[in-house]
Symmetry: C2
Subunit: 449 residues, 2 copies
């Protein structure tokens, strides 16, 4: 079952396209999983992908479409008529169809919707388009199996059979009242193990986890993870069942959230990847570089101001990169731990205990590094008093950096700004300025300059 795109396979496919040998091409591709075909589309020319797209069944092409990278999908949709796009969307679950429609231009969107064949499906998709993509409403699908609390199990099973036809994965059977308000759930397992004569009101579980349409996707992910749920029903303001979110959508949210933190730490403002254009890469990266530059220009003034000091004791200046790097590193370490603590809920606000612990860590790290440095400085440059001045300054700067690294993400979080920003270039460069300022101030004080 392990699939790896080989050069041979790609050559074979391209050769078949070239020969217009649709029969063999179909035979070859029908053996592959749609996710694998989507991967192949990344490797071949867009005309070839469109060619393949047109000879395959819409049942499989719809799934391929869903799996494609956004930019490849955009190009393929560009090559299809609204009617052809609608045919694909008719095959997809409402949430996937809505996601794809949302990517279309305003005018094409309307045309595609009007071409959808299944009216119920179309209504559901249009309904989903209303929700912000970062909410439970934006994640949910309309496909679910629900039964009325007033039914008996027999009616229920019959109804469920017909509903299940439209649902790829039946996770839970939701129980609603006559007004469609969520009352509880029936588990599939109960259904397998209960006699068909039992009335619904006796079997259903009244305790049911749910989220509201306007809950954020991150909150939905947190709840599903914490309570180990594979699907969760979504209700509107009146408690009416309007959809359900499944675990596979949440996997994407979790991954995106984690990737976002990583990108922040690496100083990239948005979701870019190796395949993006130079323009997109620059748009995501240059802002941080420029912010860093501006802050470091401030650092250059601080150095200029202290010229007399390092002209007198030249070793003062040669350890500035070491100072910057160490302060930056410890600041980012401190911030990263706070950011992760905030993300997993183990840290909620400023905690005196944690702050003290961080200061102890910083002090021990600072003293260790300073002792190394003092020995090094004494051996290589002599001038013990300068070595001591540098070492003491570095301890203070390290402690300051750790404090800043702890407090800034908490401050950002409190002000509803993503705290992960603090683990990016911002904190390292800011640390540089304060660090160099402190370093020279303390060194001058000790050296009497």
């Amino acid at each position: 079952m392990r699939f790896n795109i080989s050069k041979e396979l790609l050559d074979q496919i391209q050769e078949l396209i070239h020969q217009r040998n649709d029969k063999d091409l179909e035979l070859l591709l029908n053996d592959l999983h749609y996710a694998d075909i989507a991967e192949i589309f990344d490797e071949i020319a867009i005309e070839e992908a469109i060619y393949i797209f047109k000879i395959l069944d819409s049942e499989i092409t719809a799934d391929i479409l869903k799996e494609l990278e956004e930019d490849v999908r955009e190009k393929i949709l560009h090559g299809l008529s609204p009617k052809e796009i609608a045919e694909e969307l008719d095959e997809l679950d409402t949430d996937d169809a809505a996601d794809i429609i949302a990517e279309l231009s305003q005018s094409k969107k309307a045309e595609v919707i009007s071409e959808l064949e299944d009216v119920e499906h179309a209504k559901d998709i249009v309904d989903l388009l209303r929700y912000d993509e970062n909410t439970a409403g934006g994640l949910m699908g309309k496909e679910l199996v629900k039964v009325n609390e007033n039914w008996n199990v027999l009616t229920c099973v019959k109804e469920m059979r017909s509903q299940a036809e439209h649902v790829t994965r039946v996770h839970s059977i939701y129980v609603v009242d006559d007004d469609n308000r969520l009352k509880g759930r029936l588990s599939l397992k109960d259904l397998l193990t209960t006699s068909t004569k039992t009335p619904i009101s006796e079997v259903y579980i009244k305790k049911v986890d749910f989220v509201r349409v306007d809950d954020s996707n991150v909150e939905v992910a947190r709840i599903m993870q914490k309570y180990d749920l594979e699907a969760i029903p979504v209700v509107d303001e009146l408690g009416r069942l309007v959809g359900r979110v499944t675990i596979d959508d949440i996997v994407d949210v979790i991954k995106e959230e984690a990737d976002k933190d990583y990108q922040m730490a690496a100083g990239i403002t948005q979701d870019v990847e190796a395949g993006d254009s130079v323009f997109e890469l620059i748009k995501a990266r240059l802002p941080w570089l420029l912010i860093g530059m501006v802050i470091e220009i401030v650092a250059s003034f601080v150095l200029k101001d202290n010229e007399s000091a390092f002209k007198q004791y030249s070793t003062l200046i040669i350890f500035v990169p070491l100072l910057s790097a160490t302060a930056g590193n410890i600041g980012v370490q401190a911030s990263a731990i706070v950011v992760q603590g905030l993300a997993n809920g183990s840290l909620k606000e400023f905690s005196k205990n944690y702050f003290k612990k961080e200061l102890v860590v910083a002090m021990i790290s600072g003293i260790t590094i300073s002792l190394f440095l003092l020995s090094f400085h004494s051996i290589v440059y002599g001038q013990y008093h300068v070595g001591i001045a540098i070492s003491i300054s570095i301890i203070v700067v390290i402690m300051f950096a750790a404090m800043l690294g702890t407090v800034v993400p908490l401050f950002l979080h409190k002000n509803k700004i993503d705290p992960a920003i603090a683990t990016g270039p911002f904190i390292t460069t800011t640390n540089d300025v304060f660090g160099i300022l402190l370093y020279f101030a303390i060194a001058r004080l000790i050296l009497g300059l």
Copy 2:
């Protein structure tokens, strides 16, 4: 359904414990989800947690145990006898039970296993202990529903009902031959919608995704994500069905992998968090700080060597922090994109195209920054020739940093080392040394020093 630990709730619980009012305490806690009780355990004293643990049913305490943070769990298990632990494990799924047993000391492990009541369950747990925790075998559980290809649907449903009693979530029904070799699967949906008279051989789907026991957990996660699976069967070397991995275990793997990258980027060697001890925090952080220090000592030699240059033109030295920060930032940006490309498979090895793109990005970024800097230098310090020397040097250093940032993670990946290391302090400090070296070399060349 939103649960938040309030000060009032904690006070109430602690008051009830203090009064030894077990009845009201049970009443209060039985209303809560086990995951919420686990959260409460984080906030109260360990003696209080053990007190609660002993008055609740093992059905719920087993689930609490599973949810706890490893250090809290360790303390609670310490307060329980092997027999009491075994009672908890009897309630858990094999994979969760095996994970908890694996945390026990060697001697306690044997005692606990001998106390397990359900012999089949015990055998399954012992079997699971054999596997490395980072493989499919380490992730899988023994709970699954399987039917023989030679049965008919009637026998099948009967068998399944009894098997399903032991399985929390029935995802798929696996079909095996007489030797327990995996042949295919039956979907629950098919079962709901197919007449009970059909023979199994006619209904079952022969195409089934599976993984081998020794596949890595990251590979299992990749496959389940790519093919959108909620459960995947695990087979041994002979193709025999030995277990299945479910999506909730994979969610943890995905999160851990992403968190690991983030921690690498932040210069933390292992999974630490805000709640850890000072010693653990230092163990995870000091190594990177020391590595950074050693590399920056090299940088100090480079600066010392160039003393004459910056004594003559003092603005040369004051932009060194800017140079370091910019080179570090662009290097980490470049590495992060490569690391993510490698992780999601969009980048597999060195790609000339990507390398060229990265150089173009670096060049445009470098020129932008240099132009700013040149203007700034000219306005504030005059000395156009020095400004030009600094600007040109910075362009070269930025391009070099981007190259290093692109190549290092690819090199690490090729040598089976986690490429995310490259986004940590390692690349920034290395960039510093080469950057400062290049910067002065070029500046001296231009200024004729």
